[in-house]
């Protein structure tokens, strides 16, 4: 039998259940979403299906309305059917996988599973999303067959965005079941798998909640403020911007409180059990319903003045009053800003000697000790713990990676000097002469396995390609300070950007030209992709504006023209080359980043994709082939000669709107809806596999007998399109929906996309449109208001609408 998830059931329609249902629907499964019948129905309502489904309907509607969106594409909602646990429970008999996400109450869960056991088909998988209740208690009364098909699948909130999926085997779960869910979770649901043991709060929350508890307690002891702790445990230490307290506001204090309480009650032997006892001010906050963002106030609060001005406030735990928020600073943080790498920043902060640095060190020691002492209690390897913190808490580095960054030996020495205990397993590792938890040798990443007292290969899936590993294995073939061409095996090469936000500059364009020649001689195809971190991260956030501004300031407009002409030539050369080029965007693919993808032969995109041609925000237009290629993508999407008989306005208007309104997608599915992705482009759920999948696509295209596109003329909208736009812009300007300058830019953009001064339906050379792109770009650069927009973006990171 081949296992599949044709139909899945999610029981419990709260925010987690709704999120899991949306994710499963996005992965193509039919989903049955069930919840209880309301207790308080009148006699009349008891026969009314809608009334009986009230709770599940509300949950489903909530999932649809959630912001940020839980669905990649709202159309996926059609795959979900809803029902209640009394009338529809028999439908569970059709389900291949049943996920329980009901309230955290053992009795309720046991009763529910007893019902499920009666109707589920033999062989079907049943899992619980419990975050705290031991699975062995839930499954105590199951039959043997049921136990063999039962496990824990612990998703994180919001389900769509959090990469972590903790899998918890039961004592009797069949290996076949575990393997299947791990593979499905990774490939179809796009999750990062962490194997956890059946211990309270599993891995991520066990470690995470202890870290929060320890920080809150230590903050009071050491006399720090909430914003001070958040400033220290932010990006400088590889933590998310929301740090400790803003993250808790986001998640909800009640959730944090319950998880913490659960740890405290169930982990009787935990050596740091006291840190999980939260100080009294937190109890007061929960009692007073100061639960964070969902109650409009937690540790932080935003107040509005009568003039609708926002004032940020923060809680003073001593007085329980909100006070005006001022940004704290520490010398160690200022020094860290100058460091280029995260490892450098971490060292800088932890080795500082100000009050903040000392606190950060103390908390890091706590984290090091706690993580190391949890192996093998909650997980077998350092990988599981590091991954759970990266994927479930958005840390850039887990505790062991952070320790590696500091230097394991140095940190251990300092700990001993200062009277902190070094965990036994780490001490043993150091004593045996092993000085890091991870190491890279010949392109293979190893981790130190405490149980075996030796390094072992970090397991990777077959489709995964790691650029870092390849580069570590002398597979770099060309490189400059902005881009690198890496041999990723099977005669496929990957062009990697590695600038800040992967912004495009002249070095990248140079590298693209060199890569083209190299791959033409030595390879079968090219992937354009990178593995920069962050959530959502940036494939490329656009062109390097400081380069453009520099040329403007020097008045070297002909340089700009020449730069663009070179970029266009390279782009066209790649497009019409003998080999396929596949772009692998994820996260932000904006402006030039989007253009890079549009110019490729094919796109293999991660499902989280913020894609758009946003140049108008800085007073420019897509001049890296974006105008040409988006239009071409629309026209070529039509079969045969259809475009010749078509009212081109139906294509022209959406292309023009995408560019002139700087329209962006919030998922790959939306990017397809806006025409950035076409019929041949693919969506990959798991970002870790993205470059590997893009490579597979290259190899498939080669295997199919790659036929480079023939150079053809392109039908254009001509000046009829310009007429349409002129009339419409007049209305928008009059309505005050657009600034005068946006109108000016939009008019010229319409001129470029429509092919310039030609009759509608004319076939023009691609180079004609490229020439118009360049001219418009340079003309825009000469405009004062464009210069103001660029300067504003460079200074503030936000667009100026002048």
């Amino acid at each position: 039998m081949i296992r599949k998830v044709r139909k899945a059931a999610v029981i419990g329609s709260g925010i987690m259940g709704g999120g899991i249902a949306a994710l499963l629907a996005g992965a193509g499964a039919d989903v049955l979403l069930l919840d209880i019948v309301p207790f308080d129905l009148t006699d009349e309502e008891k026969n009314d299906k809608a009334a009986r489904n009230k709770i599940v309907q509300a949950g489903f509607d909530g999932a649809l309305a959630a912001k940020p969106g839980l669905f990649y594409d709202k159309k996926d909602a059609a795959r979900i059917s809803i029902g209640n646990l009394e009338d529809d429970i028999d439908k569970l008999a059709d389900c291949d996988w049943i996920v329980e996400v009901v309230v955290e109450n053992l009795k309720i869960k046991q009763d529910l599973f007893a019902k499920i056991e009666k109707v589920r088909k033999p062989g079907s998988i049943v899992s619980s999303n419990t975050s705290g209740i031991p699975l062995k208690d839930i499954s105590a009364n199951f039959s043997k067959e049921f136990k063999e098909h039962f496990m824990g699948t612990h998703f994180f909130n919001p389900v769509r965005y959090m990469h972590l999926l903790e899998l918890i085997p039961g004592a009797e779960t069949l290996p076949e079941i575990l393997d299947f869910i791990a593979a499905y979770g990774e490939k179809n649901l796009g999750k990062g798998i962490v194997w956890a043991k059946d211990t309270p709060n599993f891995v991520g929350n066990r470690i995470g909640i202890q870290g929060i508890g320890a920080s809150v307690n230590a903050m009071l002891e050491d006399g720090l403020t909430i914003p001070e702790v958040d400033a220290l445990f932010g990006p400088a230490l590889g933590r998310p911007k929301t740090a400790v307290f803003k993250t808790t506001d986001l998640v909800g204090l009640d959730t944090m409180y319950h998880v913490s309480k659960n740890s405290y009650e169930l982990c009787q032997d935990d050596e740091k059990r006291d840190t999980m006892k939260l100080p009294d001010f937190i109890n007061q906050m929960v009692e007073k319903n100061m639960l964070g963002n969902k109650t409009q106030g937690g540790f932080y609060k935003t107040e509005l003045t009568p003039e609708w001005k926002k004032i940020r406030k923060v809680l003073n735990p001593a007085t329980m009053e909100y006070e005006d928020l001022t940004r704290p600073s520490f010398p160690c943080l200022d020094a860290a800003k100058k460091e280029a790498t995260l490892a450098g920043k971490i060292k800088c902060v932890l080795q500082g000697d100000d009050k903040g640095a000392k606190f950060a060190w103390k908390m890091s020691v706590n984290a090091f000790q706690y993580a190391a002492n949890r192996i093998p209690e909650i997980a077998d390897t350092v990988i599981e713990i590091d991954n759970s913190m990266k994927w479930g808490y958005n840390f850039e580095m887990g505790p062991f990676e952070t320790w590696d960054a500091y230097g394991v030996k140095d940190a251990a020495q300092r700990m001993e000097e200062e009277g902190y205990e070094v965990p036994v397993n780490v001490k043993a590792m150091l004593d045996a002469g092993n000085e890091s938890f991870y190491k890279l040798e010949n392109g293979v990443k190893y981790y130190y396995d405490f149980a075996a007292s030796e390094y072992k290969k970090v397991p990777v899936s077959k489709t995964m390609v790691s650029l870092a590993a390849a580069k570590g294995n002398n597979k770099t073939v060309l490189s400059n300070s902005s881009a690198t061409l890496v041999d990723i095996g099977d005669d496929v090469f990957c062009l990697e950007f590695h600038t800040k936000m992967n912004a495009l500059n002249n070095e990248i364009v140079d590298m693209l030209a060199q890569a083209n020649e190299y791959v033409d001689q030595n390879g079968v195809g090219m992937v354009i992709g990178n593995e920069a971190g962050g959530m959502p991260g940036a494939f490329s956030a656009g062109a390097d504006l400081s380069f453009v501004m520099g040329k403007i300031k020097e008045g070297k407009f002909s340089d700009l023209e020449a730069f663009l002409a070179g970029a266009h030539e390279t782009m066209q050369k790649n497009r019409y080359s003998s080999f396929p080029v596949v772009a692998a965007p994820y996260g932000m693919a904006l402006g030039g980043g989007c253009e890079t993808c549009l110019a490729a032969d094919r796109i293999v995109a991660h499902t989280e994709l913020i894609m758009g041609l946003v140049e108008i925000g800085v007073g420019l237009l897509p001049a890296g082939g974006g105008c040409l290629n988006l239009w071409r993508k629309y026209v070529k999407a039509l079969p045969g000669k259809t475009s010749k008989d078509m009212a081109l306005a139906k294509l022209f208007i959406p292309v023009f709107m995408n560019i002139s309104m700087a329209s962006i997608s919030m998922s790959a599915a939306q990017a397809a809806g806006k025409g950035f992705l076409g019929q041949n482009d693919r969506i990959v759920m798991n970002r870790d596999n993205l470059i590997g999948e893009a490579k597979k696509e290259v190899l498939k295209m080669v295997d199919d007998g790659y036929v480079p596109p023939a150079k053809e003329k392109l039908i254009v909208m001509g000046n009829t399109g310009q007429g349409m736009v002129a009339a419409q812009l007049f209305n928008m300007l009059n309505g005050g929906y657009m600034s005068e300058y946006d109108g000016f830019l939009a008019k010229r953009i319409a001129y470029v996309i429509s092919g310039g001064e030609v009759k509608t339906g004319t076939m023009v050379d691609e180079e004609t449109i490229l020439k118009l792109e360049r001219e418009a770009f340079v003309d825009f650069c000469k405009e004062e208001k464009t210069q103001a927009r660029i300067n504003h973006m460079l200074k503030t990171g936000k667009p100026l609408r002048n």
Partner: protein, 392 residues
Amino acid sequence: MRDAYIVQSLRTPGCKQKRGFFKETRPEELASFIMKTVVDKTKNMKAEYISDIMMGCSFPEAEQGINIGRLAGQMAGFPESVSGATVNRFCASGLEAIALAASRVMLGWSEVTMGGGVESMTFVPMGGNNPSPHPEFSATNPENYISMGITAENVANRYNVSREDQDKFAAESQRKAAAARDGGLFTEIVPTPAYRYVQQEDGTYKKEQFIVEHDDGIRESTPEALGKLRTVFAAQGSVTAGNSSQTTDGAAASIIASKEACDKYGLEPIARLVTYTTIGCRSDEMGVGPKYAIPAALKQAGLNVEDIDIYEINEAFASQALYCLRETGVDKYMERVNIHGGAIALGHPLGCTGAKLTATCLANLKEVNGKYGIVSMCMGGGMGAAAIFERL
């Protein structure tokens, strides 16, 4: 010159664009039905008497193309000898068609003609399916292609028509329309067959017919409730969906005959077309058109504002309707204006509107036992039109 007599004037209900009862009924079906019906409902009338049909339509393309004036006549089962034309003067198309049909009679070139109008804004949207302004002219003179909503904002701004006044006017239009519907006063409406495509049990679809008896856009409201609506054409404006006309599907037709034809066939005249005029104005405030057209028509007819018993002024927008009423002094006789509501409640099916308002005007003249009635409206591009009818 001879007199031209209206012997019949009727309309279909007006139904909301894309959401109303006519959303699956093609414009030819509406037009041919009303053409056939005006003939059938007129004592002693036969289609073969008609020499020509003038059919108003604002966007005569696609479903409304291929000369719907002729085509709908043939669909109505009229003899081949009955010719037909499509007339476009935007929102006055239906009135223009009646005036042209009447002129033929007045000149002695025809004895019996038909004038009417049709618009399915569902099938052919305002602006047409493929609006293609001239590239250079639209760059230098974009106001010639201006959105109607912006012109309404311009009128409100330039001539100080407040949001409150617009919303009061709109609520009043809805109130009057609801009262007229409930009181059975829309005697000019003919229950009209509409179609819908209904999924059958086996999954296939069948076209089914049903009858529509009333305008479906009437929605009573208060100025306060309307005051909460957001503006749609300008961020800081005053024109909303609530104080603008509704986009609507509908058709209307009138039969026009000479005195000789009436005598010969035994047709009974109900009214006489006294005069008709059109006049241009600034396109970016096209709504002011009636301000010029109404006095011009009155002057041509030698009549004064107070002589008119029924005013049917198209409510393209409350702002322009109010402004024109104030400027012409008609606001002194509000009890004679749009007595059963106007386009804000009943809809504005562009090219049908002139023909529809003629039917309404004649029915209302009869109801109040009045003598003279005016039909007037503004037009995109900057024009006003007005016709005066005398009830017999």
